[in-house]
């Protein structure tokens, strides 16, 4: 019976103090009854192996003990989805901007990328995750009831968003901005080495003519795309890929422009020659400093557009609808309206 005592002792360890004696007495009685019955069937005492088989069938001490304990959790099923969402947002909010900035500096200015202290990032994430978990655990323990779960109103739910629909308003804004940019840009910066701007004479590097042509072409292409989107306001894999291409080209051109030291000199009536050199250098320096941030911006655009392209191509390949099924509700072909 030594095995049985050891088994019961191991279970006892995990049980709540108040019920320990009661539970062990009852379980012990059951197991002893089983052993006695088996012994009377065999007509002899049980061997260790046979006793072991009975205890093994009963389950490991921890498993048995856990069944007596109330279900316990740090964050319950009601709060858990909210907790997971908040945690993901906080962790992403910590990690993504810092990684992007680090990447921007790594590409544009590798010498300064080390000053971003990436080794602190993981500690920051751990701190945020810890305090978020702690806050949710406190809310769970305090037993706050979420009245919204019982008093919700379907009319107050946010409208369902179709990720493949291109909002008409944003398309109109895009057309307006591109048109204004084209008119303004062509008017002010028609490619020539020297530009007169508000009384100042600005000298630009010869490479400016290349940038000018590229920006004009890109703006015109973007305007044409936007017009097409106005007529058919849904993303398709091809259209999303073209948007990705033009955005990446535009971003790369902008990065290159910031690095190209395109401003050669400024002459203005109120500006001395020395000051003009200082201003020229400052403008070029400002553009160089802006480069890492521009790279970050390009990476973000690449990520957003790239994700859209992958999602659409994947949906296209698998034959699944590339918009959520709930969009079908407004489709008269589906609901028969």
């Amino acid at each position: 019976m030594e095995l049985l005592n050891r088994y019961l002792h191991a279970i006892e360890f995990w049980l709540p103090k108040r019920q320990r004696h009661d539970i062990i007495a009852e379980l012990s009685e059951d197991l002893r009854s089983q052993i006695e019955e088996k012994e009377s069937q065999l007509g002899r005492k049980l061997e260790d192996g046979e006793l072991e088989a009975i205890l093994k069938r009963c389950g490991s001490p921890l498993t048995v003990a856990l069944r007596y304990l109330p279900q316990q959790y740090l964050i319950g099923p009601t709060l858990f989805p909210i907790y997971r969402f908040v945690l993901a947002m906080i962790v992403l909010g910590c990690v993504v901007p810092r990684v992007l900035i680090w990447l921007g500096f790594l590409i544009a200015d590798p010498a300064h990328s080390g000053s971003m202290h990436m080794e602190n990032l993981w500690m920051t994430v751990v701190y945020f995750a810890f305090f978020t978990t702690l806050a949710f655990a406190v809310v769970e323990r305090s037993g706050v009831r979420f009245e919204d779960l019982n008093t919700w109103n379907p009319r107050k739910l946010p409208p369902a968003r179709d990720p493949n629909r291109i909002p008409r308003f944003s398309t109109l804004c895009e057309i307006a901005v591109n048109t204004i940019f084209l008119v303004y840009f062509i008017n002010l910066f028609w490619p020539r080495p020297v530009i007169d701007l508000y009384g100042a004479t600005i000298s630009l590097a010869p490479v400016w003519q290349f940038f000018f042509a590229c920006f004009v072409v890109l703006a015109a292409v973007n305007t044409a795309f936007a017009a097409a989107n106005l007529l058919r306001p849904y993303w398709t894999p091809l259209r999303a890929s073209l948007r990705l291409l033009t955005d990446v080209l535009g971003g790369m051109l902008l990065c290159w422009l910031l690095k190209a030291h395109v401003l050669v000199g400024i002459i203005a009536p109120s500006l001395s020659a020395t000051k003009a050199i200082v201003v020229t250098n400052l403008v070029n320096l400002g553009m160089t400093i802006a480069l890492p941030w521009c790279i970050v911006f390009v990476i973000v655009i690449l990520g957003v557009n790239g994700y859209r392209v992958v999602r659409l191509w994947r949906a296209n390949r698998t034959g699944r609808p590339n918009a959520p099924a709930l969009n079908d509700l407004s489709n008269p072909m589906v609901n028969g309206n």
Partner: protein, 112 residues
């Protein structure tokens, strides 16, 4: 993990889920007369419903905490045993659950 193993696991999970709801009803039905744990398990097993000790005793404890069972420690055959039986509330609950079970059973018979 092979397909057949995962199917078997899925079946086991669903089977346990299906069984879980029925166990309380089965246990309560057997406690119209007073029994202790071991004889209760044997009675259920004889009728085709095997239930292991680590499932039965926590269930009995829960039903007792809910006021559906009463229990008493008593010596029998030179050993202390805990005897359970349905409380008046338990009898009423068993009647209601029995009716509900009949309805579910009839519906499922029709569906299946």
């Amino acid at each position: 993990m092979s397909q057949s193993t995962s199917n078997h696991e899925l079946f086991e999970n669903l089977r346990l889920e299906l069984r879980r709801g029925c166990l309380s009803l089965a246990v309560m039905s057997q406690l119209r007369t007073e029994r202790y744990g071991y004889t209760l398990r044997k009675a259920l097993a004889e009728q085709g419903l095997e239930i292991d000790e680590s499932t039965l005793y926590p269930l009995l404890r829960r039903l007792e905490n809910q006021g559906l069972l009463t229990s008493v420690w008593r010596e029998e055959e030179k050993r202390n045993k805990r005897f359970y039986r349905l409380s008046p509330e338990g009898k009423l609950m068993l009647k209601q659950l029995g009716t509900e079970w009949q309805k579910i059973n009839a519906t499922l018979e029709g569906i299946l």
